[in-house]
Symmetry: D2
Amino acid sequence: MIDYRLKVGILGATGAVGQKLVARLAHHPWLEVTTLAASHRSAGRAYGDVVHWLDAAPLPAEIAALPVVAAEPPLACDLVISALDTGAAREIEPAFAAAGYPVFSNASAHRMRPDVPLLVPEVNADHLRLVERQPYGAGFIVTNPNCSTVGLVLALKPLADAFGLEAVQVTTMQATSGAGYPGVSSLDILGNVIPHIAGEEAKLESEPRKILGALAGDCITDDPVTISAQANRVPVLDGHLLSVSVRLSRPAGVDDVRAAFAEFVSPLADLGLPSAPARPLALLAPPEVPQPRRHAALGDGMVVHVGCVRPCPVLGVRFVALVHNTIRGAAGAAILNAELAIRHGLVAPRAAAPEREEVSLAAFAW
Amino acid sequence: MIDYRLKVGILGATGAVGQKLVARLAHHPWLEVTTLAASHRSAGRAYGDVVHWLDAAPLPAEIAALPVVAAEPPLACDLVISALDTGAAREIEPAFAAAGYPVFSNASAHRMRPDVPLLVPEVNADHLRLVERQPYGAGFIVTNPNCSTVGLVLALKPLADAFGLEAVQVTTMQATSGAGYPGVSSLDILGNVIPHIAGEEAKLESEPRKILGALAGDCITDDPVTISAQANRVPVLDGHLLSVSVRLSRPAGVDDVRAAFAEFVSPLADLGLPSAPARPLALLAPPEVPQPRRHAALGDGMVVHVGCVRPCPVLGVRFVALVHNTIRGAAGAAILNAELAIRHGLVAPRAAAPEREEVSLAAFAW
Amino acid sequence: MIDYRLKVGILGATGAVGQKLVARLAHHPWLEVTTLAASHRSAGRAYGDVVHWLDAAPLPAEIAALPVVAAEPPLACDLVISALDTGAAREIEPAFAAAGYPVFSNASAHRMRPDVPLLVPEVNADHLRLVERQPYGAGFIVTNPNCSTVGLVLALKPLADAFGLEAVQVTTMQATSGAGYPGVSSLDILGNVIPHIAGEEAKLESEPRKILGALAGDCITDDPVTISAQANRVPVLDGHLLSVSVRLSRPAGVDDVRAAFAEFVSPLADLGLPSAPARPLALLAPPEVPQPRRHAALGDGMVVHVGCVRPCPVLGVRFVALVHNTIRGAAGAAILNAELAIRHGLVAPRAAAPEREEVSLAAFAW
Amino acid sequence: MIDYRLKVGILGATGAVGQKLVARLAHHPWLEVTTLAASHRSAGRAYGDVVHWLDAAPLPAEIAALPVVAAEPPLACDLVISALDTGAAREIEPAFAAAGYPVFSNASAHRMRPDVPLLVPEVNADHLRLVERQPYGAGFIVTNPNCSTVGLVLALKPLADAFGLEAVQVTTMQATSGAGYPGVSSLDILGNVIPHIAGEEAKLESEPRKILGALAGDCITDDPVTISAQANRVPVLDGHLLSVSVRLSRPAGVDDVRAAFAEFVSPLADLGLPSAPARPLALLAPPEVPQPRRHAALGDGMVVHVGCVRPCPVLGVRFVALVHNTIRGAAGAAILNAELAIRHGLVAPRAAAPEREEVSLAAFAW
C-alpha cells in the first residue's frame, strides 16, 4: 500500500499534454503536482497566466497560482513526468536522470534507446527492468510510445499471445489534439483530411516491434512482425481510429480473434495501479463502432476499444481500434508508467520518507 | 461530330446524385435534360417545388419549372440516366431498357450482371460491347461503379498495365455526400468517424475485378487481384480519400509507380468526349496531398488525384488516391458513359434524327 | 424527505430527448423509469432494438430489455414525462392528464395555454399553482420552455429582478442536437450556418413574457418586455449560445449586471431537488467564453453560463449566455419540473403508497 | 479604356490575404503582379518555397518562382496592395506613400485617419478625393474596411439612402479564414463557437459611420447612426454571416426594405471596373438563406447576399447579410479600390507610360 503522496514535477507543463497531466493528477491518490516547468520564456510567471487552458473543467486555482520554473534540475519534486517536445527532451531528460530523478517521458527522443523501456504496462511491464542498465544511478528514463502505437499494441497483444503476428497493415485517422496546441490550423482541417503526419508512420512501424519484443538478459529482441502504417489527420478532437489488417502466424477465424479480445484482462490487476483499467480492451459488437467522439473517453480514456472484426481477403483478419490519444496515448500512459515504477519501489521520496511496503522487482516475474 | 442534342430523362432526379446530373447537364453540348422522373409522391409537381436543392449555384429557372413525372416508360427522351436507389433500380431500369431506352445507371442493382458493362471508360471502354448480349433490342443498361471503386480503379489501371496486380489493401475515408440527402445525420458525423458503410466494402472488393477483367468473346473474366477494403465515413462534404497498398506482380520501385501515374493519359483522347479529361490521373508531389476539400473538385471533378507514393513494408508500394464521389464517382461517371455510347453510335434520337457521323463499334478496337 | 421512488413513463422515448430522459433517470433518487412509450410502429419490440442510441455512455441493459408500448393511457407508472413531437403531444398529453397522470412535457403544444404552467423552477416556481385550474382532476400538464428560452430566461431573471426589463435583442447560435435525430443533415450544416429554425424565433419572443409574468389570482399577466430573436443553426453538437442585448428599466452599468449575475442563487435551495444546481447561473470572466463545446456540459448540464458582459451602444448592456439544449433546455428541465411538483406533493403513487412528508403548496410562498 | 497593365507589388504576400491577392490578380486585365514582399525572414527565397499555399487551385509556376523581397521602398512596381498586419502597416505603408507609391491597404492601421479614404466603391467612391489632403505627393494611402464592415455597409447603403439609419444591432458569425493562417486552432473551433474576436466589435461600430459619412470640403462628417456589434467565430471556412436589426429614420415595412435591396444597382456601372459586380447586393427569397458555405463565393465572391427580411419587434426590421470575408471583405476589396483609383487616373506607371484616356476626378460627381 502506498500511504503517502510523491511530489511530481511536470516538464513542458504549458503544452497540450502537459495540461492533460495537470488535469489528471489533480486528484491522484499517489501523486501530487508541486512543480510546473516550461521554457525560460514562461519561467517566473504564474501557471494560470501563461497557459492557454484547453480542458472544459476549469484549471484548479491552487495549480493556477503555482509559479512556472525553468525545466532544469534540481526541482522540488520526487519524480518528473515529461511532456517536452522531442528536441527539448533530447538533453533535458538525461540531465534530470543524471541528477537522480526518475523521468517518465511522453517524448520520442529516447524511446528507441536500447537501455530505455518503451512501456505499455499491460504488454511489457517486464521491460521496466531495462532501467538497471542506464548510467544514471538513482535516476532513470522510462518512455511511453507514440499515441497511435499504444492503441495498436494493446489491440495486437492478445493476438500476438494467442496466434503470433506476421504482418500488420494499419491506416490511422488521427485527432487534431495529437498535434498539440495550437497545432493543426482550422484552415487545414475543417471538412478535410490530411494524408500525412510527419514522422508518424515510422514510429508506428518500429515502436510496436520493441514493445512486443522479448527481454533476454538485459537486451530486447524486437518482435519480427512487419508493420505498414499510413497516417491521416481527420477533423476529430480526441481519439485516434485505426483500421487494422493482420496476418497471424497460426490460423485464426474471426470468432477466435473476437474471443482473444474479449478475454484479455490486465496482467496488472493485482498491483492496484490507480490508472490501470481492469480490462484495457473493450470489444464492441455493433458494426458501426467504435467511434472517436462517442467512445474514446469511456473507461476514463484508458481503455482501447476494438470492433468491426471481420475477415481480410489479403492478410486474414481485420478490425478497428480506437485509443484516446492524449490520455491512454500520452498523459495517462506516462502516469501509468510512473505508477508501475512506484509500485516496484523504483521511486523514492528525495528526502526522508516513511517506510513503504512494495512489490520487489524480483517478485514481479523478472 | 455530334451536331445535335439528345434528350435526357433523369430517373431519381430529386436525390443528391439526380441533382448533380441536372447541374452538370445544364450546359452539356450533346445532352439536354427534358424529363425529370422521381417517385409517384413527387409526380405532377414542379421540380423546383419538390427538390431540396443542394448545389451552391442556383437551380436554373427553366429546370425548376419542369414537371416531375413518374419513373415509368415511356418518357419523352432519347436516353435515361438513372440515379435511382438500388431497390427501385432493380425493376425500373430493365423496364426502360425493354422499352427501347439506353439506360446509364449509377445504381448498383445491375452492375454485376454478366451482360451489363460496369464501365470506367478510360479503363475498360471495350466492355461496352456487352450490351449486345442484353435481351432488350434497342434498349440496354450500362452502369458505372461505386464512387470509391472509380477512384481505386483509375489509380490501379496504370499499375495493372505496367506491373500486374496481385493484392490490394484499401482503407477509405468517405465524404458524407456519398450517402445522399439527408443521408448522414450531423449528430453522427460532426467531429467523428464512423468505421462502417453498409455494403461498401463488398463493392470495393468485387467491382474492380470485373472492371479490370478481360473481355473474351462476350464474356468477362474477372481480374484475379485480391482486394481488401475497409470503409470509413469522415466529416468531409465531397471527396473520398483512399489509403492504398499494393502487391504488384512484377517488382517496381516507388519511382516506377510514380512514373506510371504521371504518364497515364486517357485512351479516349481521340473521341472528344465532353466530360473526359485529357489526363484522368493527376500526380501531386507534396507529402501532405491530395486532400479532399482542396483537390476533389479540380479538373472539373473528373480527375482522380494521387500522391504520397512510398514503399509499403508489407505489400510493396502504397499511395493515396482521391476521387470526387458525386462527380467522377457518380453523376459525371454516368454522363461519361453516356458520352462514350453516343460516340459509338449506340444512342439514337427516338424520332427522326439528322444523319450522324459516328465511330463504329467495330472500329473502336473491338 | 422522499424515501421511495416514483414510477416514470417516458412518452416519445426513442427520440433524442426521450433518450436523454432515459439516460438522466438511470440513477435518479426519486424516479425510476418503468415504461417506455413510443409510436405504434415501435410498440411491442424491445427498446434496445428500436432505439438508435446516441449517448456515449452505453444504454443500460435493463432499460434496453424493456418493451416499448404505445403512448396511450393507462400505463404502469405514477407520472409521465413527455418528449413527444408537438403534433402528437396535442392530443396525447391531455389524454394522459384526463386519465389522472401528472404530465411533465417538453413539447410546445400546450405551453401557452393560460392554465398550463410554463415552468423554469428557479424563475417562476409559483406558476405551478396554475395546475389547480386544469380540468383533469388528479392529472395535470406542466411544461418547460423551448431550449433557447430556458437559457435566455435564466440569464434575464436577475436583471429583471434588479433593474426591470424593457427590450431584449437575442441572436442564437444553436446546436444541431436541438433538432433531434436524424434532424439536421450533415450536408446542410458541415462548415455552414443556417440562419433559420422554423418556429424558433416566435417561441423565444413569447415564452419569456409568460415565464417572467406575474401570477395574480389564477391568471398570469405577461411581462411587458419586448423581445426580438434571430435564430441560427451552427455546426455544434450540444449547447445553444445566445448573444443578448438588453434595455433595462432602471440604469445599470456593466459592473451592476455582472454583480446581479454573480449573486444569483437558486431560490429552490431549501427544497433539495436532485437536479437543481445551487447556482443555476455561472458568470465566467475571460473575454472569449462561454463556449458551447467547452462549457455547456459543466454543472451536469443544468447551469447556464454567462459572460462577455459589456456596454451595448444601442440598448445599454449586452452579454453572452450558454445553455445545454438537451439537458437544461429539455430533458433536465422536464425532470426538474417533475421534482418540483413531487416536492410539493402533487405527484402520488397511483396505488397504495407510503406516507410522505411534503412541502405543501400553501407553504411554498404561494 | 485601359490598354496596358500596371505592375503591382504585394506587401505581406505570404499571408492568407496576400495569397488571395496573388490568386485573384493572376488573370487581371489591368494589373500584373511583379513583386512579392514579405518579412525579412522570407526575403531572398522563392515565393513558392516560403508560402503555405492555401487555395485549392495550384499556385501558378511563374509566381512561385518570384523571389520574395523585403517590404521596403523602392520596389519595381507602379502601385502596392498591402495585406500587412496592422503593426507592420503602421510604418511601412506611409513609407511607401512617401516614396510616391499608391498604397491600397487591407490593414486597419490608417483606416480612421481623417485624410485616408475608407472606401467601399459602391458606397462612398467620392471619399477617394481625400487622398488630395495626404502629405505624400504622388503617393497616397487608400484603405478598405474590416471584412464584416464591408458586408454590413453594403447591406445598409440602400436603407440609408431610402429611409435613413438611426440604430443598428449586428451579431456576426465569422469564418476562420478571417483570422489568417494558421490563425484559429482546430482545438478551439471544431464543433464550437467563440463569442469574441479581438478588436472586431469596435471596428464594426466605428467604420460604417465614416464610410456612410458625408464628404464636405475635404472633411468627412460621420454618419450619426449608432451601431452595436457582437462578434462570434464559428467553424466555417469562408463567409461572415451577419444577423442585423435596424431602426430606420423613416417608417418602412418589410416589403419596402426588400424592394430597396432588390433595386440596388452599382453606381459604378459606367466605369467598367473589372472586379465590380453589376449588382453588389443579391436578395435571396427562401427563409433559410443566405448560408456561408453555399453562397459566399457566388458572384465571384464580390456580391453580398441578403435575406431573411422580417419585422424586428425591438428596432423595426431585421435581416441577414453574408459577405465573403477574404474576397469582398479583403483581397477583392483592395483590388476594387485600386481599380477605382486607376479609372480616375490616380495611378500612373512609374516610368514612361502610354497615353491613357481616363475619367477625371472632377468629372466623377465630385
